[in-house]
């Protein structure tokens, strides 16, 4: 067998393994999609059927027309976008300074960010509730944005710090020598290089807020209720409405899928960021 043939077989095996892996990841989502398309009587067949015997959009009609999902969906979108923007605004300069001007204090700062990620969210629920109540921000979009930002910033900080580590210090010094102020060097030279890292951080911050459940449950009631809460309401003590619940979950997953596809070049760039650092 020639080297070329061996290489082809190896490649085919890797592709097959990758396909199995992708399918195993995608299978629950495909099943979710299939369930959402089943008529009410077929949703919980025993034994279950993977594919619907007939396609029905009644579950989508139910969640889009007869439920509060559209309003909650809009809330989720606004909260996630604002959380992402606010997190980046706060974390970008902080991560840059913490990595590029390394002092003992900045190391402590990053460690502290890491520690905050280890605190169970539930233990912060009541203090956040009291804080927002005293500020009159309970059940408001700004209130939930602040709560989500408090958890998204440490995540963004740690991610961005890792990306900033890959940028040579000389880059800023060269810019300074060419006449840039420190801020100009950061804005015009460093940030464009960090595009992939920022995209990944934005995506993670967005998803963290998009999927967040506990704070949304505790800190909202009606006005700023987000979609995860509405989806969970289909699981009532009197039964689980699988059809509408899966339809709502499919609708809710679309923005994340769309954003991931739109940013895929940056995400792949971000994943390999610094890999060829010489």
């Amino acid at each position: 067998m020639t080297d070329v043939n061996q290489r082809d077989i190896g490649k085919a095996m890797i592709n097959a393994a990758a396909l199995v892996l992708v399918l195993s990841y995608a299978l629950p989502y495909v099943y979710l999609l299939m369930t959402s398309l089943k008529p009410a009587a077929d949703v919980q067949q025993i034994p279950p059927h993977f594919f619907p015997e007939s396609i029905s959009f009644e579950n989508f009609r139910e969640v889009l027309v007869n439920s509060t999902l559209p309003h909650a969906f809009a809330n989720s979108l606004i909260v996630a976008v604002l959380t992402t923007i606010l997190s980046l605004i706060l974390a970008l300069p902080a991560a840059y300074v913490a990595t590029q001007y390394r002092r003992k204090l900045t190391v402590v700062f990053l460690l502290f960010a890491l520690v905050t990620r280890m605190v169970p969210a539930v233990s912060l629920g009541v203090p956040l509730f009291q804080l927002l109540k005293s500020l009159g921000l309970l059940d408001t979009v700004p209130g939930l944005v602040l709560a989500h930002t408090s958890t998204a910033v440490p995540l963004a900080l740690l991610l961005l710090a890792a990306f900033f580590e890959g940028i040579p210090r000389d880059l800023e010094e060269a810019a300074r020598m060419d006449g840039c102020t420190r801020f100009q060097a950061f804005r015009k030279i460093i940030l464009p290089v960090m595009k992939s890292g920022i995209a990944i951080t934005a995506l993670f911050s967005f998803i963290a807020s998009w999927n967040e459940f506990l704070y949304a449950l505790l800190l909202t009631s009606e006005n700023s209720k987000t979609a995860p809460i509405v989806i969970a309401e289909y699981n009532s003590v009197f039964g689980l409405a699988w059809g509408p619940m899966t339809a709502a979950a499919v609708v809710y997953s679309l923005p994340v899928i769309a954003i991931t596809l739109a940013l895929q070049k940056q995400i792949i760039g971000g994943l390999t960021f610094g890999a060829v650092k010489g």
């Binding site: 505790l218 809460i229 309401e233």
Partner: protein
């Protein structure tokens, strides 16, 4: 001038409570909102007090109310809570004893009154209640051939089961291969392996003074009634083979779907399911209902009531109490909601004889049965169920253990939970 000032001040003082009570916020689970919407609308029309519902997922009621109580202030004036949380919230809600007049007490099944009382305080007013009753396939039970075959085989008429033995016999009788290939594809009933409430109902039917704990908090999970009930509970699976084999995968939803899909002839299930039979189900129009089974102590079930409570942190306590009293007095208004449940005898009785509400008779009979009683009002009860009781039931359902040993082990685990 002074008179005018005093008059203005007095008018302001008198108006203040009315203004602050114009709107009450009710924390409720999704299904509960539907059951109380009609009464809230009528309450607003009659009193001018607006009722605003905050709907959250089931567990959200507990989490949200806990967080609000812990914070010392609440946006909720009323919370509709599951009976399993009564003990947990007892110290943080108002005493509603003054709402329980003789008339109110006389219109509620005794078990609902008993569950409302925690540490001598009436902590909540029943908003609606549910209980397991027997569902059966009317078309099969009325089929002359089935009736004759059953009579020939068991020497008794085929009629809705009332006793444990009848249940087992009928479940065995209906378990069959409908395609004639020998593979069982239709079962007499199901056995739920992911919840323990149904077994608890049998414990009461067997004459136990309580479920898991007695009134003094002693662990009685290993008494004779618990043992007999567990033997009966596992028999259709371990001895008769009259249920689908995957018992540990069968929960409420699965049991309900097996029945709706025409794969079981009978089920013990929460009464609300009668009204919720899907129109496109193969059993639609063929469902019969009967009271829950009877053991040595007669008919018994574990009720599933929900209570309206007033959190101590509420700022509109009087308006909240007014709403709760009103909801109790107009309890029948919730029956037209999809779940179609109520709490009072009069509400249920007002629908007796109406087509589509045939389940109300068996439900009220079950709720009012002398042996029916609620779960122990112990704040560790859910932990006891999750950590000791359900594992014991599941172990028994392996069919390889002695039920007395399983219950003895459960007793030891429960004592560890209660006295760590």
């Amino acid at each position: 001038m002074n008179k005018l000032l005093y008059a203005t001040a007095l008018a302001t003082l008198l108006a203040a409570p009315a203004l602050s009570a114009e709107r009450i916020n009710v924390l409720v689970e999704g299904g509960g909102e539907m059951l109380q919407k009609a009464v809230a609308a009528k309450f607003t029309a009659d009193t001018g007090i607006e009722v605003n519902f905050t709907v959250v997922p089931y567990q959200g009621v507990f989490d949200k109310l806990s967080a609000e109580i812990a914070s010392g202030s609440s946006s909720f004036d009323v919370a509709t809570i599951d009976v399993v949380w009564n003990a947990k919230f007892a110290d943080h809600v108002e005493d509603l004893s003054d709402l329980f007049t003789d008339e109110v007490r006389g219109d509620l099944p005794p078990t609902l009154l008993a569950d409302a009382k925690v540490n001598g305080k009436m902590i909540g007013m029943p908003a609606w209640a549910n209980a397991e009753i027997v569902f059966y396939r009317k078309d099969l039970f009325e089929d002359p051939k089935e009736k004759a075959d059953f009579q020939a085989k068991y020497g008794s008429p085929l009629a809705p089961p009332k006793t444990w033995q009848e249940w087992r016999d009928m479940a065995k009788f209906f378990t069959r291969s409908t395609k004639g290939d020998g593979a069982i594809d239709f079962w007499g009933t199901d056995t739920i392996g992911t919840f323990a409430e149904e077994w608890m109902a049998h414990v009461l039917q067997a004459g136990s003074p309580g479920v898991i704990l007695d009134k003094d908090g002693n662990v009685i999970v290993d008494n004779e009634a618990h043992r007999k009930a567990l033997e009966f509970y596992i028999a259709p699976h371990c001895v008769d083979h009259s249920v689908p084999e995957n018992v540990n995968e069968i929960g409420w939803g699965e049991a309900q779907n097996l029945f709706y899909q025409g794969k079981t002839a009978m089920m013990k299930f929460w009464a609300h399911a009668y009204k919720m039979t899907p129109k496109d189900s193969v059993v639609n129009g063929k469902v019969g209902v009967a009271p829950m089974l009877a053991g040595e102590a007669g008919v018994a079930a574990i009720p599933g009531p929900w209570y309206n409570v007033v959190p101590s942190t509420s700022k509109n306590k009087e308006a909240a109490k007014k709403f709760i009293a009103y909801a109790e007095a107009h309890n029948a208004l919730g029956i037209e909601a999809p779940l179609g449940l109520a709490a009072t005898n009069s509400a249920y009785k007002s629908y007796f004889g109406k087509p589509g509400y045939e389940h109300f008779g068996p439900l009220l009979e079950t709720l009012s049965a002398p042996a029916t009683q609620g779960r122990p009002l112990n704040e560790h009860f859910q932990e006891i169920v999750d950590e000791a009781v359900l594992p014991a039931v599941q172990k028994a359902l392996t069919c390889k253990v002695d039920v007395a040993d399983v219950l003895a082990e459960a007793k030891s685990n429960i004592q560890d939970i209660l006295h760590p």
